[in-house]
């Protein structure tokens, strides 16, 4: 009886942790690309580089990919079917208004960024999902902080989408 209780207790401790554990290295590689921007988006050229770096950093943290490779890197043919490519477009950027943000607040006058992200399988370029991301931050923060927040959101959505697809 004591042994059974001990086993049950051990299962209660271990099982939730095991169930909550993310599947590590489900995909062989993920290639993040520099996001393009539509005409009229007034962001510094360095923004794209920083967003690219942050996105790679955040994708690595998801532990969903064995390797997050740089743009334009070759992948072994055997791994191509289990690899994804992430690219996107910066659709809209509003730099916000500090005065409005300070006086009114509640998101009015906030700095905002809208992104359309596409997720495709490397081997056959089949779409694995399209994500729309909107980031809003205080205009007191700089562009790079916005890139960091946007990258976190993209990585979160990518992880969610791919996990649902794996389950489904």
């Amino acid at each position: 009886m004591r042994l059974l209780t001990a086993v049950l207790m051990a299962l209660l401790v271990v099982a939730p942790g095991a169930a909550a554990k993310d599947p590590e290295g489900v995909y062989k590689t993920a290639e993040a690309k520099h996001f393009t921007r539509v005409e009229g988006v007034e962001l510094s050229p360095a923004f794209s580089d920083y967003l690219y770096a942050e996105l790679r950093n955040e994708l690595t943290k998801t532990k969903l990919f064995a390797q997050v490779i740089g743009e334009g890197e070759a992948v072994e043919d055997a791994d191509a079917a289990n690899s994804v490519v992430i690219d996107g477009v910066i659709m809209e950027y509003k730099k916000g208004n500090r005065a409005t943000d300070a006086i009114i607040g509640f998101g009015v006058g906030a700095r905002s960024l809208k992104l359309d992200v596409n997720l495709t399988r490397r081997s056959d370029h089949q779409s694995l999902g399209a994500i729309k991301v909107q980031t809003k931050i205080s205009p007191k923060w700089n562009e790079e902080v916005m890139a960091k927040v946007a990258a976190q959101q993209i990585a979160h959505q990518v992880k969610k989408g791919l996990k649902d697809k794996t389950k489904g």
Partner: protein, 248 residues
């Protein structure tokens, strides 16, 4: 009345001279104080950046031999060895061009793709470093970036192609100076490794090698399955090498 006006003008002139002298003195003093704040390299604030391990290049059907003719700094940075200006400064122990050359050569050598000299090389690389070190980040972390382009040239056919490589790395910020130094070093090393991987494992290099070796007159036919032909250099030792950049 006219005399009064002249006197006034003279007084005004003296005042102007005095003000100018004052401004000059202030400028001189400011410059001196700024110079005193300029960080200087010491053994304590100098970091050694190198690849932890050679980056394995992509596999070629018929591996060509590469030779790096020269590495040129195109960053326009007046202090290329200064990585971080704050916290007493942080310096590299060698020039970014030297570090980049060593990193690429180390990786090529480990994969037996490095020629001993330009004469025995199938393809000659000329590297242009555009950025090496830290770039502007969010302020919450360190953003390391290494960016360069390589002009790949077949010394026999005189044809060349340009390829780009970018490496990035993000490391956590730190409070203590010792940790800042450690994080910056790891960050720059990470960015360098990433950039070398981007170059050596990039599809741009694969395509450049395929194109340049295919057009080699003395080379055998291109290997099947995207492979490439193989030929030795013409013995010019790369002396006739003129890139598009030099031509400009």
């Amino acid at each position: 009345m006219a005399q009064w006006g002249v006197t006034e003008a003279k007084v005004g002139f003296h005042r102007v001279v005095l003000v100018q002298a004052g401004i000059l003195l202030a400028c001189a003093l400011t410059t001196l104080s700024v110079r005193a704040d300029e960080p200087k390299p010491t053994p304590e604030n100098t970091i050694h950046v190198q690849l932890a391990a050679p980056v394995p290049p992509q596999k070629f059907a018929k591996p060509p031999k590469f030779f790096i003719s020269e590495v040129i700094d195109r960053s326009g940075n007046p202090q290329p060895m200064l990585v971080l200006k704050d916290r007493g400064g942080m310096f590299l122990d060698r020039l970014p061009t030297q570090i980049t050359r060593e990193a690429i050569e180390q990786s090529l050598k480990a994969a037996d793709l490095l020629a001993a000299d330009a004469a025995s090389a199938d393809l000659v690389l000329q590297i242009y470093v555009f950025h090496f070190g830290l770039a502007q980040g969010s302020g919450l972390d360190f953003f390391g970036k290494v960016e360069f382009s390589a002009v790949v040239k077949n010394p026999k056919t005189e044809e060349s192609q340009q390829i780009q490589a970018v490496g990035t790395s993000i490391a956590n910020a730190a409070m203590r100076k010792k940790n800042v130094q450690k994080n910056v070093q790891a960050n720059v090393e990470g960015a360098l490794e990433d950039a070398v991987r981007n170059l050596l494992r990039g599809t741009q290099l694969r395509e450049a090698v395929a194109t340049l070796m295919k057009n080699n007159p003395s080379a055998p036919a291109a290997a099947p399955g995207g492979g490439m032909a193989f030929a030795h250099g013409d013995g010019s030792s790369g002396r006739n090498f003129n890139s598009r950049f030099q031509e400009r």
